[in-house]
Amino acid sequence: MRFRHRRTAAVAALAAVAVLGLPACSAVLGEEESVLDAASLTIGVKTDQPGLGLEGADGDITGFDVDVALSIAEKLGFSEEEVELTGITSAEREDRLVNGEVDMVVATYSITPARKTEVTFAGPYYVAKQDVLVRAENTDVQGVRDLEGLRVCQGEGSNSAARITEGLGIDVRKTEAPSYSACVDALREGDVDAVSTDNLILAGYLAENPDAFRFVNNPFTDEKYGVGLPYGDVRACEAVNKAISEMYQDGTAEELLNTWFGETGLDVVTRVPQFEGCDST
């Protein structure tokens, strides 16, 4: 992260104050540093999530999250050359933001009160909901309650099955696979009866294989996908919120949702989500 504007004025002013011994403190001077002031923007995205952020054979990363990230960066005033995309896994999102390796994270990153103690979230740019994916020929499952007694797969490190068993008190047979890709494979093979996680993630798999699976389309939780920013970067957060509002107003969001999930039968919401707010509460 390089800085376009050195805050020389502030520094000089501070020096002058120090020399003159005036009672003023540094906090009074200037705004805080922001990723907005940098000459380039490094954005962390997923590389293994079809439809959201997937690295192709040619090394290009594509998906809904990627396009959202690029659109936001453009609206913030960064040209294409000034934006660098880098792969990021779920586990390393906080660390790489905190140590400054990435300036922004757009990677199916759910806003939670606990995470908000470490990361400032703009957005959400989309509110995903937990839903259920079954094989196309399975018409018995019409809602999450119909999963009672069935085999439900969750990706390693995920909490989605617990939301069914503990959150809703439904008794399902939990199985775990290394990733949701593996879960979807197991579903195709008939080794499990259902996969349950955020509907955008499920839609991504469905889009790859629309005839094999069916969406239950009876969502039961809200997952607010936020734009992760360095903690306390309120200025950037407000600017990103504005960019997201614009994205919905000028039709970009709807277009992107249709591009990536239009074929899947997912009920997408094409209106701007309720933002979280940029302060740390």
């Binding site: 003023a24 503990e166 407000e238 919120n241 509002s245 919401v269 701007v272």
Partner: protein, 500 residues
């Protein structure tokens, strides 16, 4: 000042010096005059006067900035920001009342009654319209926000049509309490979906945007005052230095120990500079306090009230729409955790955790950081509890937490009754919670309003104090400046008179 060294051979009486043969007479005369004592005296005096006038200028302009910052925060931006937060609350309340009326069905006397619910609906509608008009004037010129205001205006019409249809269909079907007519439910689903995807998010974002404007104004104002402070300090120091220089020059040239008026002027300049710097710093402190402890806190708590309004309405939605009950229950928990967060995987865990918070306060569970899995007590109320600083705030906050806990206790009873198949009992509990006289939600709102009042009071007080600190300087600065100039004149005039 070193000027005295090079001309030390000239006493006050040797007012001229022989010119060099080659220079033109004209230039010669000019140089001769500038090197005379009266010329130097005039020059030094002018420097002092300019510096004092400069001090006046920089101080007046910075005091002006500071005053303007206070007024923008206190009179305009702050109040408008509060108005936009009210829009969300009014809209959420409208949808809550519609859900309650549908849930009551034919029993018009449940809770505080159908008429009461409809009257509240109307009142909230009027409030929403008023807040929208205010927001429209506030967001003029900002295309993104203007667009949002327009969308909410349009959406309100559509929402009202759907809500009215749902109510009429339910009335026509003579639906009993708790068993909403299927067609009415369809219309209500559409209405509440529109409210929650089209209206409330935009209203909430408008409120956030007003906060952002307030923050940007505040930061900008602070920055310009900080720069002004440096100017005042620098110019003040220059003025003091010039006055001391003049004093030293007089001492060397005229062999006088002290020039009393100049001495007083020097001290006065230092005092004036220090006074202005002190006033600006202290008023800035009051302004920041007004913003953080006053406005920001009041806005955060207003949001806690608005989200809770939507949350308690999820109870009605949970009861009237069994097919989506799971979703409404999860969303209830999600909204509750926005208001007051404790780690909890389901409502049962949440009820328990909230009970612990209310019991332990002012201690906050999980705040020690001893458990890496426990981020502490968070959300709008949790954050407030962490920052509680105002006198009386602790008691008021304790009241809010207790009433919030009581609200959750009612929620637990409601869901237990519903799960046991006691629909009538569950509807009864729900209408009791929503009772506009002594319901659990009303109690929570009352307690919250008391706490918000404290913060609004702190806001007004901070602005007032900041203003009070600056007020005397409107006359102190010009009077002080004139006095200093007069003192300089008084100190220099007798010496200049020696050359007439």
């Amino acid at each position: 000042m070193t000027a005295t060294g090079s001309t030390s051979e000239h006493g006050p009486s040797s007012s001229s010096r022989r010119g060099e043969p080659r220079s033109s007479p004209h230039r010669d005369r000019g140089r001769r005059w500038t090197e005379t004592t009266p010329a130097r005296l005039w020059l030094l005096t002018s420097v002092c006067v300019v510096a004092i006038v400069g001090l006046f200028g920089s101080a007046a302009s910075t005091l002006g900035h500071a005053r303007e910052g206070l007024h923008v925060l206190g009179r305009d931006a702050g109040r408008q920001a509060m108005a936009t937060t009210d829009l969300y609350l009014a809209l959420a309340d409208m949808d809550a009342r519609v859900a309650d009326v549908l849930l009551m069905g034919t029993d018009h006397d449940l809770g505080s009654g159908r008429e009461d619910a409809l009257a509240h609906y109307e009142a909230s509608r009027a409030r929403a319209n008023e807040a929208l008009l205010q927001a429209a004037s506030l967001t003029e010129g900002d295309s993104v926000e203007e667009h949002n205001v327009q969308a909410v205006l349009d959406g309100m019409g559509a929402y009202e049509r759907l809500a009215t249809r749902a109510r009429l269909l339910n009335d026509e079907a003579q639906a009993p309490p708790g068993r909403v007519d299927a067609a009415a439910l369809d219309a209500y689903r559409e209405a509440t979906h529109l409210m929650h995807t089209g209206l409330l998010p935009k209203a909430f974002n408008l409120g956030l945007d007003s906060s952002a404007i307030v923050r940007a104004n505040h930061e900008e104002g602070r920055e310009s005052v900080a720069i002004g402070l440096v100017w005042v300090g620098t110019v003040g120091a220059v003025a003091v230095a010039a006055l001391i220089g003049l004093q030293l020059y007089l001492r060397v040239r005229f062999r006088r120990r002290f020039n009393a008026p100049l001495l007083v002027a020097t001290a006065g300049t230092a005092l004036l500079t220090a006074g202005v710097v002190l006033a600006l710093t202290s008023s800035g402190g009051h302004q920041s306090e007004a913003k953080e402890q006053g406005l920001d806190a009041a806005m955060a708590l207003s949001r806690a009230g608005a989200i809770a309004t939507d949350m308690q309405a999820d109870q009605s939605r949970y009861l009237l729409d069994p097919d989506r009950a799971d979703n409404h229950q999860q969303v209830y928990l999600a909204r509750a955790q926005q208001v007051l967060y404790r780690p909890a995987g389901n409502l049962e865990e949440y009820y328990q955790a909230i009970g612990e918070v209310a019991a332990a306060y002012p201690e906050l569970p999980g705040s020690g950081g001893s458990d890496p899995e426990d981020p502490g007590t968070l959300g709008y109320l949790g954050q407030r509890a962490q920052d509680a600083l105002l006198p009386g705030q602790e008691d008021a906050l304790a009241g809010v937490l207790e009433s919030y806990d009581a609200l959750q206790t009612e929620d637990r009873r409601l869901r237990a009754a519903s799960e046991d198949g006691d629909l009538a009992g569950a509807v009864d509990i729900r209408m009791g919670v929503a009772h506009s006289g002594d319901g659990a939600f009303q109690a929570y709102e009352t307690a919250l309003a008391e706490l918000i009042d404290l913060h609004e009071g702190a806001f007004a007080e901070g602005i007032e104090r900041g203003d009070a600190v600056l007020a005397p300087w409107t006359w102190l600065l010009p009077v002080g400046t004139l006095l200093l100039l007069a003192l300089v004149g008084l100190g220099v005039r007798p010496r200049l008179a020696e050359y007439r």
